[in-house]
Subunit: 353 residues, 2 copies
């Protein structure tokens, strides 16, 4: 859809944008070893739950295609190892585990009796995950349209656009869909420390799309709501528990509380692959702690005194009570989430790991 490809399969390799170089340079990197893919996820060459899911899927495909296993059984053991290694790269986003589990399930199909067909199935499943994501995101955008008033002033956290997905985007895709359907929107982009995905990536995407935006520091959200006014908040999600509690980029919880205090609707947007019905609530979500350097250094420049102690949780959990609705490709889900997420997820036709 966009003029750039966040992630794609090209000539037996997975190619992705090195998002650490944006917005200054658009650089593509290619990997043919799944360990490199795991490292790329860890280093945030690629980030965003759905994009990580697609990367993990292609990582599994690479593990299969480059395997020297002598038997289907041996190959399947290697794929379990690959799923483990990829899963260890970043613990919070559910899409990653959902994608590797999907490929394990597909390649475990006992009708696949030889190495060639297992390898082909792994790649096919990875391609399906990636390609379906674009359509899923478009559907999310359409589903959300009734929630976006004309002249909407939207506050958006982190990056949830094409770069966070295979294409089109989730929360930012909602703003994009509204814009493409002729609504005027203005997106307030919070910079999203420490990695600045808002200032670097979301601003860059909105610039490409021609959607009006304004960058603010994360802590200005309350000031903007009070003085200028915000009509709704849009955020993505890395893992949604069965009760609706949502893990997402650090700062999401703060924004939810600020929105709540101002009676501003707070929408969580993502594919159903982010919903983890195996956990009851957000307390069970493993929150990744990332390196101190993300806080102490910006663009290679040290900010803090030498050796300053840092806490750097990469995600936080927003309790369901602060979430106005969860928007997925299957529609808009509202409280009570325990009942309504279960109903949505039990609809037939859903591919769940």
């Amino acid at each position: 859809v966009a003029g750039y490809k966040t992630i794609e399969w090209v000539d037996g390799k997975v190619r992705m944008i090195d998002q650490r170089q944006l917005p200054h340079t658009l650089v593509y990197v290619e990997y043919e070893d799944y360990h490199q893919v795991a490292q790329a996820i860890r280093d945030m060459v690629i980030r965003g739950a759905p994009a990580i899911g697609a990367a993990a899927g292609y990582g599994m495909a690479l593990a299969a295609l480059h395997s020297r296993a002598a038997s289907p059984q041996e190959l399947r053991v290697e794929l379990i190892q690959a799923a483990h290694d990829l899963g260890a790269s970043r613990p919070t986003a559910h899409d990653l585990f959902w994608a590797t589990a999907r490929i394990l399930k597909r390649t475990n199909d006992k009708t696949l009796s030889d190495l060639v067909s297992i390898k082909a199935a792994a790649l096919e499943e990875a391609q399906q995950i990636a390609h379906a994501n674009i359509e899923i995101n478009r559907r999310i955008g359409l589903n959300a349209l009734p929630l976006i008033p004309d002249k909407a002033r939207i506050l958006h956290h982190c990056n949830t656009g094409s770069l966070a997905t295979v294409d089109y985007g989730t929360a930012l895709g909602v703003a994009r869909a509204a814009f493409e359907h002729g609504k005027q929107v203005h997106v307030y982009v919070d910079e999203t420390r420490p990695r600045l995905q808002g200032a670097r990536l979301t601003a860059w995407e909105l610039e490409q799309l021609g959607i009006p935006y304004t960058v603010i520091v994360d802590s200005a959200s309350g000031s903007i709501m009070r003085r200028i006014g915000i009509d709704l908040c849009l955020v993505g999600c890395d893992r949604i528990a069965a009760n609706g509690d949502t893990a997402n980029k650090i700062g999401t919880y703060n924004l939810a509380l600020i929105a709540h205090a101002h009676h501003v609707p707070f929408y969580v947007v993502g594919p159903t692959s982010t919903i983890d019905m195996s956990i009851c609530n957000g307390d069970e979500i493993n929150i990744e702690e990332r390196p101190a350097e993300e806080v102490t250094h910006i663009a290679g420049v040290q900010i803090t005194p030498e050796g300053a102690p840092v806490a750097n949780p990469a995600f936080d959990v927003t309790p369901a009570q602060y979430i106005t609705a969860i928007i997925t490709e299957r529609g808009i889900t509202r409280p009570p989430y325990i009942e309504n997420l279960a109903a949505m997820m039990s609809d037939k036709g859903i591919i769940q790991a």
Copy 2:
């Protein structure tokens, strides 16, 4: 008190730390022209409401001492111009206007009949403002002691230490007083984008003082309150309206809302010179909008796409309803602020502009 001097008068010049160089280098700069002082305030060589007040006072002294006025009347006109120029440097902090007004009042004393005595009075008043600030801050720290439990986990915004004052600090001085009185404290230092006064200055001061601390990004405050627990928040103030509404560094309002949602006491700390009884509420406070570069660039490195639109309000207003107490050198004031601030400020002996 500390091994460094934020601002002092030395040999007919005002000397101050160039805070833009911290925490990496401790550099002093000297000015003998009040226009330079106004520029230093604008460029945030010096910042923090009480420190700006002291700088403005010394700026007035420089204007007086270097004046070539031929008559007391001419000198007084020049001082009004100097007060105007200094006041135009940063509009929000009340201490600045309070300090210049104090010097105008003092130099307008009709018993000062010659140029020499007017000039001497200007310098003497500026010295009094600066020197009294240290004692005021120590008293604030003592007044606050009963509010600080042992093993207090304190969340602190921006910088309010020695560097924001003449010495000792206001909100950070409260943590320091508790520490010096044998209480264990741990300060969670939010970095305070865009200028990073928390990560750069507060971390540096706490390091010097040996007070345990942890740096976090601004948007992690809710996560820390939920997962680790915070016993109280301490913030400074740039201007307090008669009803208790408080202007302070951008992000203060967000933190107040986050604290409110977690039932964490939220204390505003500052000298009574920050209280502006001439305005009814926070809506009347002039909020400075600072250059976009503070958001688009960090340490000289560009973050956002070229030309990205930015909103950069330097301050926000926290409504009085979210403030548990206001701590000044005169004691602890609690709601209803309209009555209680008026009672405190009408006590005799207060020097008010």
